[in-house]
């Protein structure tokens, strides 16, 4: 726990404070924002991005990126509903969704880890290819509420202790993955790989294996997040998940998971997702015309990136005068 607290002290605190600030100020201006429904709205809206951001963290921390998650999660959500309505049951749909996620993650991982191709390009290509196949598969069809498996509908609609189940799923995921990233030896390797890729090889870390595994896991998470997406919207079509990968990456960056790799945590990404969602809602609650919302989001992300850079340069300059001789 002490380690957890010192982590929060480093990178994640600014995000947390920003969140408190946003929620607080908006709540003052518009008290309904702080109501139970207001909070619930935020938590509900954040679930998908939060879950995807957790998976994306594994990848970004290694100095890679996965742009294909949007296409994957959309495809997965469609598959679950589609296979259920065709009689394969909930588990058939989930298996298919997971399968697609693992397959695409595996191909991405193979190309990046073993063929050493740049992940930006590989996952960009995967984004296209998966979206294309998805479009063909889903051509003209929609998944309606009737086609959603009851279990999935359940998690979308219900709450436990007042908190939406969707959000709780994300919370469970972040607690578990946060623990793993901190206490499991092979997970620590991900940070080393991102911090100094050349040194990681020399230190005996099985870099290719780790990179591959991280991409597979991220793909699996995206696949399973299809259930979350289907539960949230109770519908799916060929446009599901479009452009969500950018929001996911933004959430990570805002949350302190630097694009340069080697630092940041799943907690940060989680908080980043909540912050972004909080701002979206805050804009509405403050009466700002919805049209400005996207612009605000963009401006905010820039601020977050700049602040993150400022924090890291401060560390550098306070230690650079360390060496002295006489």
């Amino acid at each position: 726990m002490k380690a957890m607290r010192s982590l929060l002290k480093a990178r994640e605190l600014p995000v947390f404070l920003a969140l408190v600030l946003v929620v607080g100020l908006t709540g003052v201006a518009n008290p309904t924002f702080l109501s139970a429904t207001g909070a619930r709205d935020i938590l509900l809206g954040v679930a998908i991005v939060a879950i995807l951001a957790i998976g994306q963290t594994f990848v970004i921390v290694m100095r890679h990126i996965d742009l294909s998650v949007g296409s994957l999660v959309g495809f997965a959500s469609f598959l679950i509903g589609d296979l259920y309505s065709q009689g394969y049951g909930l588990w058939g749909g989930l298996a298919a969704a997971l399968g697609v996620g693992v397959l695409v993650g595996g191909v991405n991982g193979f190309l990046v880890a073993y063929l050493k191709l740049p992940s930006l390009v590989v996952t960009l290509g995967a984004l296209y290819v998966v979206r294309g196949i998805f479009n063909d598969y889903a051509f003209g069809r929609t998944i309606t509420a009737a086609m959603v498996p009851p279990e999935v509908a359940w998690i979308g609609l219900n709450r436990i202790g007042g908190i939406p189940v969707l959000f709780l799923m994300g919370l469970v995921l972040v607690v578990v993955s946060g623990f793993i990233m901190r206490r499991v030896r092979s997970a620590r390797d991900l940070y080393a790989i991102g911090s100094n890729p050349a040194a990681a090889e020399l230190a005996g870390i099985p870099v290719a294996r780790r990179v591959f595994t991280a991409f597979v896991i991220n793909g699996a998470i995206a696949g399973l997040a299809g259930a979350v997406m289907l539960g949230r919207f109770n519908a799916a079509n060929a446009n599901s998940g479009l452009a969500i990968e950018l929001v996911v990456i933004a959430a990570c960056v805002v949350g302190g998971v630097t694009i340069a790799g080697g630092s940041g945590s799943v907690w940060g990404a989680f908080l980043g997702a909540i912050l972004l969602q909080g701002i979206t809602r805050a804009i509405g609650a403050l009466g700002i015309p919805q049209f400005w919302q996207q612009a605000f989001n963009g401006g905010l992300i820039i601020l977050a990136i700049a602040f993150d850079k400022y924090l890291s340069t401060r560390v550098k300059t306070t230690t650079i005068m360390g060496s002295d001789d006489g």
Partner: protein
């Protein structure tokens, strides 16, 4: 320097008749190395002799094509870096390979985190690393991130890492290149401690004076083979050099008669907070002006500020009577200043780009007519300089990364000499270069000076400073301690000034 402690006659490591080629290029022909527990063993040889390949084979980065390697009497398994580490080989590379975003404790135990019930045990790792640091005589905070700590401290962490793996063989590749003499002393103490504890330490260095102070035995390599093994006490520096180079190298510092003219560069009260303060000096045409001092005394920072890479807070720089604007390298270049930087790989060269383009990059404006850069002129410029500098290369369109260190340095020199500067600044001009090329570089600098160029040289190698400079400007912790004329410059005086004392001339 102490005797080899162990009386064991069986070496802890033997590498015999190791051969290794990469495609058609032969790196090792017949290389051998044997180490005993409790010795400090120097591995010597020019750049390209094969030292690095041999050590990388031991480290598990490469697999030998043939030859036998055994460690502690058992055949050595050539698997990969992990296998080498597990068998007790630890290599500390010239560029320390720490993870800047991870804590020092995690850096020490990277890849082999200590576990309790299968999970990472942070407090145990922190405790053990503190203990290791103390054993090495250093206080470091195990929870601080590795980013920003000094190179000397980075090495300590690397050594701690080696100790934590119970390494039987510890290899250090050019460890003193970037250390101040105080830090070098500290390192030597640590290495001697390692010897007392029975480790076998391989010490790779170009600094023969250090080798003769620290090491017990040595192996000399040349052109991929081992050409000599002997006790340090039974040989001498000139003999070693001859073995390394294969021929007599007479004049290492061929100093020509200087013809010193007018002042061309005036630096007045230059200051940059945290780096240097109130620096003033004049440089004349035809003179070689050396900036001496310990590593970290601010010399490289001054010349970077002078040239315009960094900004300074106050002071002025005047070139040929005209004030030079701060922070504008392009203007400095145009007005006639050239800077051959400290780190040729990172700062001096475009490794993947052709020799021709590297040489011509500073000349682009002159090679342009009506917006167009003439490719033929680029190539002829490069060819001219390659010839003048006696560059060893296959084709001008080859990428510079294929050249040896010494030839790469020649390319950097060529690219700057092509601008025909009034003032040539060189920062550690012969660092990491083989003896033969070193002499060539010195000869070249002397020639240029005699032809009227003002040369400012930053060097941490006393012999080089003493051999080349007309005046020595000594610095310490960012301040000017004193200036010595060539006739008055002695090693003792320079070191005294560099460490804060006073001298009378």
């Amino acid at each position: 320097m102490g005797p080899i402690k162990s009386t064991v006659t069986v070496p802890v490591l033997t590498m015999e008749h190791v051969a290794k080629s990469f495609g058609g290029v032969t790196a090792l022909v017949d290389a051998s190395l044997s180490l005993y527990a409790g010795e400090i063993h120097a591995l010597l040889g020019e750049n390209g002799a094969g030292k690095s390949t041999l050590l990388k084979t031991l480290a598990g980065v490469h697999k030998a094509d043939s030859g036998e390697i055994s460690l502690e009497g058992k055949p050595f398994i050539q698997g990969g870096t992990r296998e080498s580490i597990e068998q007790g080989v630890a290599v500390i590379y010239q560029e320390p390979s720490l993870f800047p975003d991870l804590t020092l404790a995690e850096n020490v135990f990277i890849g082999r985190h200590l576990l309790k019930a299968g999970l990472v045990d942070w407090s145990e790792m922190e405790e053990r690393s503190v203990a290791l640091f103390e054993r090495l005589g250093v206080t470091l905070d195990p929870q601080s991130k590795a980013r920003g700590i000094s190179i000397a401290d980075q090495q300590i962490v690397e050594i701690a890492k080696a100790l934590s793996t119970d390494a039987r063989v510890i290899v250090m590749d050019e460890p003193t290149a970037a250390l101040s003499s105080k830090e070098v002393e500290r390192l030597f103490t640590v290495v001697r401690n390692l010897r007392e504890q029975g480790s076998a330490v391989v010490f790779v260095s170009h600094r023969l004076d250090e080798v003769f102070v620290l090491c017990d035995r040595m192996t000399v390599m040349r052109d991929g083979s081992t050409v000599g093994v002997s006790m340090i006490s039974e040989t001498s520096e000139p003999e070693v050099v001859k073995m390394m180079v294969g021929r007599e190298v007479s004049e290492l510092f061929p100093k020509l008669e200087p013809q010193i003219g007018d002042v061309v560069l005036q630096v007045k009260s230059l200051s940059l907070a945290g780096q240097f303060a109130d620096i003033s000096f004049d440089v004349r045409a035809g003179e070689i002006f050396a900036l001496a001092g310990l590593v970290g005394s601010g010399r490289s920072e001054i010349i970077r500020a002078l040239f315009g890479i960094d900004l300074y807070d106050s002071g002025t720089v005047t070139l040929a009577g005209k004030l030079l604007p701060a922070g504008k390298p392009a203007v400095s270049m145009e007005r006639g200043i050239a800077l051959v930087p400290e780190d040729r790989r990172q700062q001096g060269l475009f490794m993947a780009t052709s020799i021709a383009r590297n040489v011509a990059v500073t000349m682009l404006k002159k090679l342009t007519s009506g917006f167009r850069v003439k490719r033929l002129d680029e190539e002829s410029t490069a060819r001219t300089w390659a010839e003048t500098l006696q560059l060893k290369f296959a084709s001008l369109s080859d990428p510079v990364e294929r050249l040896s260190g010494g030839n790469q340095q020649k390319v950097v020199l060529g690219k700057w000499l092509a601008t025909e500067p009034t003032v040539l600044i060189v920062d550690e001009p012969t660092r990491g270069i083989d003896v033969g090329t070193k002499a060539e570089v010195h000869r070249l600098l002397s020639q240029k000076a005699q032809q009227g160029m003002a040369v400012i040289m930053v060097s941490s190698e006393l012999p080089e400073v003493l051999g080349m400079a007309d005046r020595v400007f000594v610095m310490r912790e960012g301040r000017h301690q004193g200036t010595l004329e060539r006739v008055d410059a002695t090693p003792e005086r320079i070191i005294t000034l560099a460490t804060g004392g006073t001298v009378s001339v």
